[in-house]
Symmetry: C2
Subunit: 544 residues, 2 copies
């Protein structure tokens, strides 16, 4: 057993004197779950999934959402063992330690504080006399004030025209989350009359990305948000210069058209090349940065600071609910555990995220990063090898589109893919049409309900080509309408789910050493000294 | 053994007197491959992947593309057995039978003729005296003439304004392929000066999709392409009425703003509600319809008929190359076989598609449909159960974006995900910037080359958190620039790859019975008589 992190005593009462960080397969619950799964005869949805189970198997979430897990293949016995796992692996205590500012990111020796961006759930986190929560709140206030100033016309483009468009330049966590969130709220904001600016995103180092976006925006009226925590991201710096060249060619002063979101120690900080700079620190991982200025700047500019604060409040409420030790009352924890059950004991190597909401069209791409970059690990938090599976492959597209695409395999393929549905009673715009006696929103949700049951129960047919085996487990997160607070609740749910799974697997969910080797080899190629004949041959093929 | 399809004698010489359709695990090559894989000690990329292997392991494709498979875990022994599999399972003879018009879609008792849309590789396909190739060519000519007429101003909106925008209304195969192709060629067309109209797409039954698109286009100058082969697709008909209502409210005559792409027997055919109709038939599956009027109408309107014909010519060249029986000379066949080797003998349940080209941003979503809907099957072509795995889960995002997202798991996760890279020497727009001594396009390709080698060879480190095990196999399709002919080559490559895999697995790659149950249950929900208490409970949750 490894015990290198002394538990924090303040803020929360930690349940035990010494908190243990133990490999999953070394705890009693692992063996018990494995034995239980080995004796498992499968879950008979055709008899077990009835109205009673659907009504009963629900866990409230923040901002009025609800996690329905009736169509997951878990019974009372499995749930009891999963609760024992939570207690034995001290998942809530570890979450509290994280909130209190312990160095949970062991590889990089960093605290993990994205929850602190949206509320103070633990004790104040003080470092070298600096209250980090206060720092985050100050930056939140500053970016909100800046957005209000832009909306009020205090800042204008260098030819004196008001800004109509904001363009985020960033990649990975500086792109996927903010982009998914912008798309998730664009229709809401237009309907509520709070949409202030259009937003676009430049991410890829492929120059066609920046070229196409730059050709599509009104340069004189565009404000660029350059996002790089280190200030050294290759793609982002290349795209920054691409943008600056275009602004200069158009006779515009780029310093009046660009703000930076970065760390205080980066070369982008307090740099006169930018109209202003907003700060994050090393305790905010890229894929967890949507709640910081990385997401807040572009969203506050697009929809106003109030919308972003509502988003944060929904997330904060979710963070608070995630402290609940009873798995039946903690949706993020339960979702995490069911995922572990499916990954490690039922043997499913993937999960599909299927939002029945066009606004969430890129939310699966964000979750793909969040999950796969956090828990796609093969060593434990102390860098020792582990002998069990960790994070699954995550993919997804919005429904009903996916039904006409890859659902064939989900229903009748040779592998089982666990499913995560998301749905809302109301559309965002409320603009609908009735055909054949039902509105489109009703059709959307009829499809969603039908899919859950079709996957779970299947349908026998003597023609095996038309036979559906069923037994495909799914969960459903549902709510009334996709608003900023609901989006915050949803995002925090998945962040916390991934965190809990990382604690179960005893991995560090907050570093990403797996991206380094590619960067190193790329630099060698660009410097002309790869030292590898195969790499040289590939480079030559590709025109270098 | 099953032999219910008499071989065609004309057009091609079929190699044997009777062609056999046999389950994969019943042929000799299956057992030989299984034995070979069982004795397999893994492929040591660190020593085997050198410049010589990279230069040698390449197979030319149509339109100047090349399939590089040096970084795939296959050796001469495996390749020999895979060639034996081709011969024993008669893959080329089956492809020829398909081209000649045999009923390859056994479940629906239909021919499979999407290759015929782009060229006549086999004998003329005649049915009830109708030459089907001639019918396809006539429709191609008609839609090209129509697009030219629109561009010449012969057709205008009902207020007399020229069309500037085309909006496709369709879902699944009527959306993903055409949308991916439009995005793939938009930058090319703008650069070449052949872009005629902007294109948008409405697919989801979520009313927010149609509402947002309708709010973003100039209605008076928008031409809508309604696509539904059957003319009964629930989502598409709902969206059609949504659009028509908006046009009427704007005082526009929808019959002057809408064309239909459908089958000749559908209610949409020869209907005065549409300006014109273009036809496909039952031999063109939705996910294979990009080469028909389904893709051709919107692409010819957006970029001109010549661009669409170039696309078809690239695809036709690929179809011809796919007739080659030597696996080292047939990229689609070799790609298919390596996929089977990975799926059935190395045990990998997924494949990632990673285009280093922003233009191909939605190409993985199209391939996801193409592959998972075609080969996500658990019965053979005769409806009998099979005892081996079929199609994998397919997912992907463009590089370098993906590097900052899910590559962590690909490099250091506990599971191996085979990879399919795509790259081009030149960008589409040729608009670039030099930072730190290299253009963005060079950085893009340096990253691509570096990733292939990093995945294959890894890098040892005594700190296991920074250790890369390598052994992650990948292939690379590369070419000069993404043009219409290159896109045609690329699309046909994957279509033919999926077809060959279907032949190996002895499944019907051309039906999709797995989508039916959801449709049936949805109708029951909407009619208020689901007959299932769980389904009623879910429906109630979702506001019904």
């Amino acid at each position: 057993m490894i015990n290198n992190a002394p538990p924090s005593r303040a803020g929360f009462t930690i349940e035990r004197d010494t908190m243990q960080y133990t490999n999953f397969d070394k705890i009693a619950a692992y063996r018990q779950l494995a034995d239980y799964a080995a004796a498992w005869k499968g879950f008979d949805f055709r008899t077990a999934l009835d109205a009673g189970r659907v009504r009963q198997c629900q866990t409230p979430m923040a901002a009025g959402l609800c996690y329905s897990w009736a169509a997951k293949a878990v019974d009372a016995g499995a749930l009891k063992l999963l609760q024992a796992l939570v207690d034995e692996q001290e998942l809530i205590a570890k979450y509290k330690a994280l909130l209190n500012g312990e160095v949970i990111n062991t590889g990089e020796k960093r605290k993990v504080l994205h929850q602190l961006l949206r509320g103070e759930q633990g004790q104040p986190v003080i470092e070298n006399g600096k209250n980090i929560g206060e720092f985050y709140r100050k930056e939140l206030q500053r970016l909100g004030d800046f957005a209000n100033d832009v909306h009020a016309g205090k800042f204008k483009g260098s030819t004196g025209k008001a800004f109509t468009t904001v363009v985020q330049i960033g990649i990975g966590g500086s792109d996927l989350g903010p982009r998914a969130m912008y798309l998730a709220l664009e229709n809401w904001a237009a309907t509520e009359g709070v949409k202030k600016l259009d937003a676009k995103f430049i991410s890829n180092v492929d120059p066609d990305d920046a070229a196409a976006i730059m050709a599509s925006v009104p340069l004189e009226q565009s404000l660029f948000v350059l996002v790089s925590k280190s200030g050294t991201t290759q793609e982002t710096l290349a795209n920054e210069l691409f943008v600056k060249n275009k602004l200069e060619k158009a006779g515009l002063d780029s310093a009046k058209h660009m703000v930076a979101v970065t760390s205080e120690t980066s070369p982008l900080a307090r740099n006169p090349a930018y109209l202003d700079s907003f700060y994050i620190d090393d305790y905010i991982g890229g894929r967890y940065s949507s709640s910081s200025a990385v997401g807040g700047c572009v969203l506050s500019l697009a929809f106003g600071p109030a919308a972003f604060r509502e988003f944060l409040s929904g997330a904060a409420e979710a963070d608070k609910l995630a402290l609940e030790p009873d798995i039946l009352k903690n949706a993020a924890l339960l979702d995490a555990l069911i995922g572990v059950w499916e990954r490690n004991f039922l043997g499913y190597p993937y999960t599909a995220v299927l939002p029945y909401s066009q606004g969430l069209s890129r939310f699966p791409a964000h979750l793909q990063q969040l999950d796969m970059e956090s828990n796609g690990k093969r060593v434990n938090r102390d860098g020792q090898p582990i002998a069990y599976n960790t994070g699954p492959v995550v993919f997804g597209e919005p429904g009903t589109n996916g039904q006409h695409s890859f659902y064939q395999l989900l229903h009748q393929g040779t592998s089982t893919v666990p499913l995560q549905f998301i749905g809302f009673t109301e559309s965002q715009k409320g603009d609908d049409v009735t055909v054949d006696g039902s509105a489109s929103q009703t059709k959307l949700n009829a499809n969603l309900a039908a899919q859950i049951v079709a996957f779970a129960k299947g349908q026998s047919d003597s023609n095996l080509n038309k036979d559906f085996p069923g037994g495909r487990p799914s969960s459903l997160i549902y709510g009334k309408r996709l608003t900023p607070a609901v989006l915050g609740s949803l995002l925090a749910h998945f962040e916390n789910k991934v965190m809990f799974q990382g604690f179960v697997w005893n991995v560090n969910s907050f570093d990403q050493e797996g991206v380094q080797l590619g960067k190193i080899l790329t630099k060698k190629v660009l410097a002309g000294n790869s030292g590898d004949s195969a790499l040289d041959a590939y480079s030559k093929m590709l025109g270098m």
